[in-house]
């Protein structure tokens, strides 16, 4: 994934070729020492279980008795699921909505709070509050907010302004945006604090230099702040993407994938295969397909950014 930094490798001067000693001198033992925790932890809790899971994708297993080898049956089964294309589209739609509407919110909050001379902490605190609401509780609360009758909470409030009542989760068009609204609410505050920390680290000289060059406030934000945040933005985007493909608690608890499959996501399908139908083979087969797809996607992403980046 990342290019290695050959220039910096602390090369030890060539030694006499004496196998183990040379290996030891060149830091081989230290390297092994540093590798022990990660290798052990990943073997036990990531690679091992994943391989075990992948094996199940070519089996028919009820998790009780011996498993039956079924080859690629599970794969053809999940691929021929008539609901799969829509689930894939929904997942992509969720990712897009999240990126376009949800993603900039914490950046905007952080940029704004950073410009405040006073009371900044108050804004911070308010923005952070949703992060302490556990998801199960948050979804329980928001179900009341999204109640489609005119005495639901959102509809009551909007009703004061003569708006609504809106169907929220009950309409194919509004269901997915409603989920994104919830996830943005739940996640924005904590993310904003991370951005804020990053913005606080931007050197004032950069702004001064830009100001001397005649850049206005917006231009300074656009040409100094945002580029300086590139790294954090990348991290957060990665995190959000991973989150998108793990998304199931929200659609599961809010809509169960409805209405008319409008919030049926790939993860929800995997979940249903595994835990509702008890078909672990199908669930792991779809997981493997999803992982392969994401692998292709990230390789493509790598090459595209490589070409664009002026190195």
């Amino acid at each position: 994934m990342s290019r290695t930094l050959e220039v910096n490798v602390p090369r030890v001067k060539p030694q006499r070729r004496r196998g183990v000693v040379r290996w030891y001198r060149s830091g081989g033992l230290t390297a092994v020492l540093f590798a022990i925790p990660v290798v052990l932890i990943f073997l036990y809790f990531s690679w091992g279980p994943v391989v075990r899971g992948v094996l199940m994708s070519v089996e028919k297993t009820n998790l009780v008795g011996p498993a039956l080898w079924v080859g690629l049956n599970n794969f053809s089964y999940v691929l021929s699921d008539p609901g799969l294309p829509q689930a894939a589209l929904n997942t992509a739609y969720y990712a897009l909505l999240g990126l376009v509407f949800g993603f900039p919110v914490p950046i905007l909050i952080a940029v704004f709070v950073n410009e405040l001379r006073r009371y900044g902490w108050m804004y911070n605190l308010l923005a952070y509050l949703p992060a302490v609401v556990p998801p199960v509780a948050g979804i329980l609360l928001w179900k009341f907010f999204y109640d489609p009758s005119s005495d639901g909470i959102f509809n009551s409030i909007l009703g004061w302004f003569g708006l609504g009542p809106y169907p929220w989760l009950n309409s194919e068009a509004m269901a997915m945006p409603s989920l994104v609204l919830y996830t943005t609410w739940a996640g924005a505050g904590a993310t904003a604090i991370i951005y804020l920390a990053a913005i606080g680290g931007i050197s004032p000289e950069l702004y001064e230099a830009a100001e001397i060059d005649g850049a206005g406030i917006w231009s300074r934000l656009w040409h100094v702040t945002i580029p300086q945040l590139r790294n954090v933005i990348f991290i957060m985007m990665l995190l959000q993407l991973i989150g998108t493909f793990q998304l199931f608690t929200e659609p599961f608890l809010f809509t169960g994938g409805g209405p008319n499959n409008a919030t049926q996501t790939i993860m929800l399908k995997i979940y249903n295969y595994a835990f509702v139908s008890g078909d672990y083979g199908a669930a792991t087969a779809l997981s493997v397909l999803l992982a392969l797809f994401l692998c292709v996607l990230s390789v493509a992403y790598h090459f595209v950014t490589k070409r664009w980046s002026p190195s």
Partner: protein
């Protein structure tokens, strides 16, 4: 921005801007010197008016989004089940039921669950930091010949959906291969798997990649061992990113309920998230469930308000993360 860092670090383009602060230089810098808006700007009427409007709009927006749900759940926790369900916006005028809070506190054992949450969060954070920092150091600085293999293997797990390994992971916890011990109903069963986070390894490695190599070289020339370089150069320089990883880990462990529900099956070990997820299956009237929800929200909120200065400073420690 130190020019020296730029020339040495040939990191991928999207990272070239990250660059940890040299400790000497940054230590005394004030965080709030200025932002994009300069002191001169702040005297212009347009800016003053715009800022005022923005402040008011943002304040109202955040007040509704941040405090609204909590205030509503506070009131709901003091209402009757019927009132909450039949007219959720009309509960303000209904009679108060103070007993709900007491019932929720003793019934759902919020106190001990919150304690468990802290134990889970602290342990998960330590495991995550230790594993991902040592791994990132190995992959970024020590770089043995087999490191591409290792980093490939770690990256490969980045996008794998958790469901694929939920059952096998559970089987692993029940009977750790080779060791033949069970981590069921021990906090280790939650702590250790938290350490296997490819995301954190990637993030830390990227950050370590950008540490000016001459700092490391200098320490080496002074005779520091690899371990010393790690503890005295790399870790102190990485405090901001470690702060971010810590925050993300704490939030993740605060919210996770599925895995703890499996591993911490004994009710006296369960963190708040699990307790809440189990509530609807209990015999508590709905209003008491709402009271339990409110208690689990309000206690961390109070802690956050009291310690918010320290907390925020901790996150943005050492001058923050330079983008």
């Amino acid at each position: 921005m130190s020019a020296a860092g730029q020339t040495i670090v040939v990191a991928p383009a999207e990272f070239e801007a990250i660059e940890p602060d040299a400790p000497r230089k940054r230590r005394q810098r004030e965080t709030k010197e200025r932002g994009a808006i300069s002191a001169a700007d702040r005297r212009r009427p347009v800016v003053i008016v715009t800022m005022w409007i923005l402040q008011i709009v943002m304040f109202i927006g955040l007040l509704i989004a941040g405090l609204g749900p909590i205030v509503w759940s506070a009131r709901a926790s003091l209402s009757s089940s019927q009132d909450i369900i039949s007219d959720p916006m009309g509960i303000w005028k209904t009679p108060l039921h103070w007993g709900n809070l007491e019932q929720a506190w003793s019934g759902a054992q919020i106190g001990s669950s919150l304690g468990n949450t802290v134990i889970v969060a602290v342990g998960s954070t330590i495991a995550t930091l230790f594993v991902s920092a040592t791994a990132a150091y190995l992959l970024s600085v020590l770089r043995p010949r087999w490191s591409p293999l290792l980093s490939g293997a770690i990256l490969a797990t980045l996008f794998l959906p958790g469901v694929i390994s939920l059952v096998p992971l559970y089987l692993t916890i029940l009977k750790m291969p080779v060791l033949n011990i069970s981590l069921l109903n021990t906090f280790w069963g939650v702590w250790l798997p938290a350490g296997a986070s490819a995301f954190n390894v990637v993030v830390l490695k990227r950050f370590f990649d950008s540490i000016p190599r001459e700092l490391i070289e200098a320490a080496r020339i002074d005779g520091a061992s690899s371990i010393r370089v790690f503890t005295t150069v790399v870790i102190p320089l990485s405090r901001p990113i470690l702060g971010v990883v810590t925050l993300l880990t704490i939030i993740a462990s605060w919210k996770d309920y599925l895995w703890p529900m499996l591993v911490l099956a004994a009710p006296n070990l369960q963190p708040v998230s699990v307790t809440l997820a189990n509530l609807p299956n209990g015999a508590m009237p709905f209003a008491v469930q709402m009271a339990a929800v409110f208690l689990t929200i309000i206690i961390p909120v109070i802690l956050f308000v009291v310690f918010q200065k320290q907390f925020l400073r901790g996150v943005s420690s050492a001058g923050g993360l330079k983008g």
